[in-house]
């Protein structure tokens, strides 16, 4: 049976029955999303990969609880998000480094490599300073292409709250993004 034609519900059923190959296919399909989501919460790539791994393994152990009538992705990503939140509670998240005044102001200045790095860092810091739920909402919406309903299922909040979170997150990120993008466009 070709794995790429098998639905996720079928793969989940096979994996639940002990088919490691089916589980591997699910991990392959969701690895990037799960790792990015975990990184959105933990802000550290190594911690994020550990949390994403915890999430996949927890999902595998609890595949019996998965309702095959619902989409697999939000169910899995919610487990990954919980695993990342557990890990964050156990460990101190690395503190964000202070920005230089130039980077914090979003003033591009001369197009040097230092400025480019500072503007990128300003955007990164703006993302890190968002409340965690807003950060997750905007990443799931704009990067992963999830619908508001899917994000609501992942985060366990109403759709209206998701819309509000995406709006506030975008509003906070637009300034630093404009500075960074402006520099990138002037470079091109």
């Amino acid at each position: 049976m070709r794995r790429d034609r098998v639905t996720e519900a079928e793969l989940a059923a096979l994996a639940h029955a002990g088919d490691a190959e089916a589980f591997g296919e699910l991990v392959t399909r969701y690895a990037a999303q799960a790792r990015r989501l975990a990184r959105t919460i933990l802000l550290d790539p190594d911690d994020a990969d550990d949390a994403a791994q915890d999430g996949f393994l927890a999902a595998w152990r609890h595949l019996g609880r998965y309702d095959a009538s619902r989409p697999f992705g939000p169910w899995l990503l919610r487990i990954v998000a919980n695993a990342a939140a557990d890990r964050r509670r156990r460990r101190r998240v690395r503190q964000t480094e202070e920005l230089s005044p130039v980077a914090a102001s979003g003033d591009a200045g001369p197009a040097t490599e230092t400025d480019r790095s500072a503007l990128r860092e300003a955007f990164e810091v703006a993302l890190e300073e968002l409340p965690e739920r807003q950060r997750m909402a905007v990443v799931l919406f704009d990067v992963e292409g999830c619908s508001h309903a899917e994000i609501a299922a992942v985060l366990g909040i109403p759709e209206g709250t998701v819309r509000s979170d995406v709006f506030h997150a975008r509003r906070a990120l637009r300034g630093p993004l404009a500075a960074w993008r402006g520099w990138k466009e002037s470079e091109a």
Binding site: A20, F23, G24, V27, T28, A31, A32, R35, R36, R39, T40, P45, A48, D49, A52, Q53, F56, L57, W60, R61, R120, F123, E124, L127, V138, V139, F141, D142, V143, G145, H148, R163, V166, F167, R170, R171, L173, R174, L177, A178, W180, R181
Partner: protein
Amino acid sequence: MTGHSPFDHVPDPVMGEALREILAVGEDPEFVRRVLERARLPEPWWEILGDWARPSVAAAMVIMAIGGFLLGRVVAPRPTDMALSEPVPAGIALLEASVLMSEAGPPDVETILGDGSR
């Protein structure tokens, strides 16, 4: 900047590209291999205990609640026992029924509220 209003609720490709760049992760095949290797190992004892922790705490709370209820029923005196055994405070004379029944008219307030001795 990106041509999208924050209210239109469609994915913003420019924002998405920037976020994707910031949140870039390493090679997925290496990660998948690592997860599958870990999945083949037996589940560590602390995770098995962790899976049981919540049901165990819930079961313990239910058992404690039922035990407390049953113990309370055994130990606490019944209300009727309390009423029968409750002594009449000293200095309060009982109003005898015969006093009320022997009167031709209704008893006056003094008789009822008084100390019972006419």
